[in-house]
C-alpha cells in the first residue's frame, strides 16, 4: 500500500501536470465567471406581496444558474487530454516509464493510480472554479447565495459536473492507452471529445449534460419534487460508457509495455 501512495504523491507533484491544472483552473474560472456575470431572469408576480416576493427571490434565480457551457467544456477537454497524454504516453516517450515500470507494483494498479490522480486534478480544476465564480459574483448577498444553492441544488450541480469530468477523463485515458505516441494521443483525444460539439449532437456531452442541468434547474425552481428523471438522459454516456471504457483500459493496461 505504501508504494501505491508514494506513486500517487509522485503523480500529483509533477510540475508539468500542475501547470496544466493551473491553466485549466484559470480558464474554466474565467469562463464560469463570464457566465455568472451574465445571469439574468425575469418574472412576474401578481398581486405583489412582500412575503411571496422574498420567498420567490431565492428560488427563481435558480433558473439563471450557469450550466456546463461550451467554453468550459472546451477547457475541460483540453485539460483531460493533456493530463492523460502526459501521464500515460509522455512518460513512455520520455523513457521515464522504464523506471516506473520496474517498481514492484502491478501494472493495473499503476494505471488506477494514474487514473485517480488525473481525475482529482481535472475535478479540482473544473468544479472548484464554478463555485468560486458563483461565490465571488454573489458574495454581496450571502443569504441569496445560500438560498440559490440550498435544498441540494449544489450537490446536483456537482453530480452533473462529476459526470462530465468522468466522461472526459476516461475517454481521453483510453485514447492515450491505445495511441502509438503522445502526438497521436493528444490529437485523437481532442478530436474524439470535440466532435460532438462540432456536430451539435444533442445526445452526447456536453449538450446532453447542459440540457439535463437546465431541465433539472427549471424543475427545482418551480418546486417540482422529483428530479431523478433528468439524470436519465446522461447516465448512458455519462456513467455507463466511461465505466466500460475504464474497465477495458484496466485490462488493456496489463498488456502494455514500457516502450
Amino acid at each position: 500500500m505504501g508504494t501505491v501512495r508514494t506513486q500517487l504523491e509522485w503523480e500529483l507533484n509533477d510540475p508539468l501536470k500542475l501547470a496544466v491544472f493551473l491553466f485549466g483552473f484559470l480558464l474554466t474560472g474565467l469562463a464560469f465567471l463570464k457566465d455568472a456575470l451574465s445571469m439574468g431572469a425575469t418574472g412576474m408576480l401578481d398581486p405583489f406581496s412582500q412575503e411571496s416576493a422574498v420567498h420567490y427571490a431565492r428560488i427563481i434565480p435558480r433558473l439563471a444558474l450557469p450550466t456546463l457551457s461550451q467554453e468550459a467544456y472546451s477547457v475541460l477537454v483540453f485539460v483531460a487530454v493533456m493530463l492523460s497524454s502526459i501521464s500515460i504516453r509522455g512518460e513512455m516517450d520520455s523513457l521515464a516509464a522504464l523506471t516506473v515500470y520496474s517498481l514492484p507494483i502491478r501494472k493495473w494498479k499503476l494505471f488506477l493510480v494514474k487514473f485517480a490522480s488525473i481525475l482529482v486534478l481535472t475535478t479540482l480544476s473544473f468544479v472548484l472554479p464554478y463555485f468560486l465564480a458563483l461565490g465571488y459574483v454573489l458574495s454581496g448577498s450571502p443569504s441569496l447565495l445560500r438560498g440559490i444553492l440550498g435544498d441540494g441544488v449544489w450537490s446536483n450541480i456537482l453530480a452533473f459536473f462529476l459526470i462530465a469530468v468522468f466522461y472526459a477523463v476516461s475517454v481521453s485515458l483510453s485514447i492515450a492507452l491505445l495511441s502509438p505516441n503522445s502526438f497521436a494521443s493528444i490529437l485523437g483525444g481532442l478530436a474524439l471529445l470535440y466532435v460532438p460539439v462540432i456536430l451539435g449532437a444533442s445526445s452526447l456531452p456536453p449538450f446532453n449534460i447542459s440540457a439535463a442541468m437546465s431541465s433539472y434547474l427549471t424543475s427545482v425552481a418551480y418546486g417540482m419534487g422529483y428530479t431523478g428523471t433528468t439524470y436519465g438522459s446522461v447516465v448512458g454516456v455519462g456513467f455507463f460508457l466511461p465505466s466500460a471504457l475504464l474497465a477495458a483500459s484496466v485490462i488493456l493496461s496489463e498488456r502494455r509495455d514500457a516502450r
Binding site: 451574465s38 439574468g40 412576474m44 459574483v137
Partner: protein, 145 residues
C-alpha cells in the same frame, strides 16, 4: 499546494479584472396587468439601470422598486404619462417593480453599467490578500512547491 494557492490568487485577480473588460448591457421587459401587479428582475451584480415605463392611461400612477434580498423598498417613481428614470441597484438580487395605478403598463429595464459592489470587492480583496500572503510565506517556511 503552492500551485493550488497560485491558481486561486490568479483567479481572484481575474475576477477583479473581468467585469471591466466583459461588459454586457442586457435589457429585460415586462407587462403590468393592473393595480398591484409586479415584474421581477434578477441581477447578479450591482448596476445602474434605466427604467422606461409606458402606459396609455392619462392619470397618475406609481412604480415602487422593492429589493427582496434586503427586504426594503429602494425607490418610488410617480408620474403621469411615461417614465424614464435612472436608478442604482445596490447589489446582486431580485428586484420587483410594483405598479400602483389604473389600466395596464409596460416596463423595460436596461443596464447602463455593471460593476461589483463594495461588499463583493471587500471579500475579493480579503481572499486575494490572504492567499498572496500565505503564498509568500510558503518558501520562507520551507515548503516545497
Amino acid at each position: 499546494m503552492g500551485f493550488f494557492l497560485l491558481a486561486i490568487l490568479l483567479f481572484t485577480i481575474g475576477s477583479l479584472l473581468l467585469p471591466r473588460y466583459h461588459q454586457e448591457n442586457p435589457t429585460t421587459s415586462g407587462f403590468f396587468s393592473g393595480d398591484g401587479s409586479s415584474v421581477s428582475v434578477f441581477v447578479p451584480t450591482a448596476r445602474r439601470v434605466a427604467i422606461n415605463v409606458v402606459t396609455e392611461n392619462g392619470k397618475g400612477y406609481e412604480v415602487q422598486v422593492f429589493d427582496s434580498v434586503r427586504n426594503r423598498f429602494i425607490a418610488n417613481l410617480s408620474a403621469m404619462g411615461s417614465i424614464y428614470s435612472e436608478l442604482e441597484l445596490p447589489d446582486s438580487g431580485t428586484y420587483y417593480f410594483v405598479y400602483h395605478g389604473n389600466g395596464t403598463a409596460r416596463i423595460a429595464v436596461g443596464t447602463l453599467a455593471m460593476y461589483p459592489s463594495g461588499n463583493v470587492l471587500k471579500i475579493e480583496y480579503l481572499i486575494g490578500g490572504t492567499v498572496a500572503f500565505v503564498l509568500a510565506a510558503l518558501p520562507w517556511m520551507g515548503v516545497k512547491q
